[in-house]
Symmetry: C2
Subunit: 344 residues, 2 copies
DNA sequence: TACAAAAGTGGAACCGGTTCCACTCCGGAC
DNA sequence: GTCCGGAGTGGAACCGGTTCCACTTTTGTA
């Protein structure tokens, strides 16, 4: 276990001062004679020298690192999001420290403290909705915060990247209405979250546009964690006048909802048309393949990174940006026109 | 954007020296009078002081951070593994820096360099198989390395945590044989990887045990990346004497394999019995639900963390540990006894 | 009462980079 | 020939912690 060389070792071996080595390491930080530059580079290569990140961070006051704070990686949506973000960050020479919150504000608060200790220069997060003050403080301390997928109303000066939630819900609801459905179930996220409320609003707007009444008992807002989606499916199907179509707009609850549908053995799309907000590969492996709203994860990731890095380098104008990317409807075989026989 | 307080600010406000504050921060590093300890704690709380990780790392020479190096997070196996590891690490106060390799040794090499720069005290990785020298150097520099899921033959002095690959393959093959199948297809990972070869060996052992010949044309080793699983399925089904049962032992290729099976419309389990190495929730949403080998991710994660942290604190004896955890067979409805009519 | 051991404290060096600044050269303009 | 500006260089302070060590004060024991 030998010790790694430091900048002073390099300086000594190259017969120059540490200042020169540092300037070679950071071009544009000062002039170096071409001959010495060559010599220093040779020695660096020779010794296998690599600058310690901790030392650099200490003197710079901030790290070339961003924090990624998501609910949990066992949710494929976040996993794939994380994958894109890590990938995108790497191509910009930025490392990613990963933290999960399990939708628990306390764990989130902990994570933020830790990220602050690490002097990360940015944070990309799907906020739980709590810790308003903490987020504010983080930003006041110079950390560039970008919310992804969800927003927090009270923090309207934080950048947000999300999909067009209102539009997507409106379009998918409209599609089902155009197929003749009038009783459309909706399973969405907590109404306290921006995604949850935007999707409900889109759902309502589609009804209004078609001059259809909204039956509030068909709308179920359930938490992101747990199996509440399955339960909601059960209770919707048990209604006296059950829906003839269902939109699962809570991505985290899609699996549990579909599992319940499979268990009850209800015929899709004959007895129930289904649209889910989740374009995981497995959605085409079910019988029938599911019609889905595709959430363009790479776009979310790219924009989030652009915002964080842009602010890091001060290349962005002041004022919060809200970026909404379009989510496509990908029709497969889980939606069918309503036929009278199943209009119970 | 105000500046965060430093240890000297705390010392000044509490009327003590920085040494005392530091000793309060790190119990066991020296005595502090109870009264002063209280006062220092009060000031810390008052000022909202938090020690900078970079400074601590610089003087300690290593960071309370581990690197997690996996192929890619869009693979649910790695995603869930990462989830468990992050979770487990957090409970020990350790942060996780995430890097992906896409199975590319060059990207892997890059990642290792970066982690070295960051002075991580441990690395948990699913190695690509390359970079032998780099791994060795990492370990020589005092970084605790643990391979998870896969091993590298040449690095027999590195800790490894994996499932019982040989056993799992032997048992699932044996199960199919006991159902009467004699032509069993196997799709596995590259034979150059420990998982790939162990699973083929288990498959062969089961045949030998039943005095069945092994038809090498039924065994397909395909890369972890890409859609080779689907192609292998296609070519297996196109054989003059196609298999009556199939084991997909390459977790990364399960989705593409199942997709192909669904596309060809082959009857499962009537025409083909199927066992896959992947216990993702979606495997029970297909028709029929798939019989799977469950890979106990939390066990893998727990053991890996235990090894890394154990070595970090020097609590472990010298010598590499190889931990194999048992993977259960979870029967569902994709396996059936061979009936003569479909023994083509 | 004397003296050794232990408790408590603060000064200063150190970890390994970056950066400011003073200083020496040099070429070109006048 | 003098003067000026810029290229090139190295010394030293600094970032914010930890730790060693010397020193003072207490405590315990003979």
């Amino acid at each position: 276990m030998r010790k790694a060389p430091t900048i002073r070792d390099v300086a000594a071996a190259a017969g120059v001062s540490v200042s020169v080595v540092s300037r070679v390491l950071n071009p544009d930080s000062g002039p170096v004679a071409p001959a010495k530059r060559q010599e220093v580079l040779r020695v660096i290569d020779d010794l296998g020298y690599r600058p310690r990140a901790a030392a650099r961070e200490l003197s710079a006051g901030h790290a070339l690192t961003i924090g990624l704070v998501v609910t949990d990686l066992s949710n494929p949506f976040f996993a794939r999001l994380a994958d894109r973000i890590v990938w995108e960050a790497r191509s910009h020479g930025v490392q990613v420290v990963l933290m999960t919150t399990q939708e628990d504000p306390h764990l989130e608060a902990d994570s933020l403290d830790t990220l602050l200790d690490r002097s990360v220069s940015g944070v990309i997060a799907t906020p739980t909705g709590g810790n308003i003050e903490k987020w504010r403080r983080l930003r006041d301390l110079g950390v560039n915060v970008v919310f992804i997928d969800r927003a927090i109303e009270e923090l309207d000066d934080v950048d947000v990247v999300s999909i067009e939630n209102f539009d997507s819900a409106q379009r998918s609801t409209g599609h089902l209405i155009s197929l003749g459905h009038t009783r459309i179930g909706l399973i969405t996220g907590p109404l306290s979250t921006s995604t949850g409320s935007a999707r409900v609003n889109g759902y309502k707007a589609a009804h209004q546009h078609a001059s259809l009444p909204v039956d509030p008992t068909l709308v179920r807002d359930v938490p992101f964690r747990g199996d509440a989606g399955g339960d909601a499916v059960g209770s919707l199907l048990a209604m006296r006048q059950p829906p003839t179509a269902l939109i699962v707009a809570n991505t985290a609850q899609v699996q549990s909802s579909v599992r319940r549908l499979v268990q009850t053995g209800i015929g899709i799309p004959d007895e129930l048309s289904l649209i889910v907000f989740d374009d995981n590969p497995w959605t085409e492996l079910t019988t029938p393949p599911l019609s889905v709203i595709r959430q363009p994860l790479d776009m979310l990731a790219v924009h989030a990174l652009e915002l964080v890095l842009g602010r890091m380098h001060g290349k962005l104008p002041d004022g919060a940006r809200r970026i909404e990317v379009k989510a496509d409807y990908l029709p497969r075989n889980s939606c069918a026109p309503l036929v009278l026989s199943n209009a119970r």
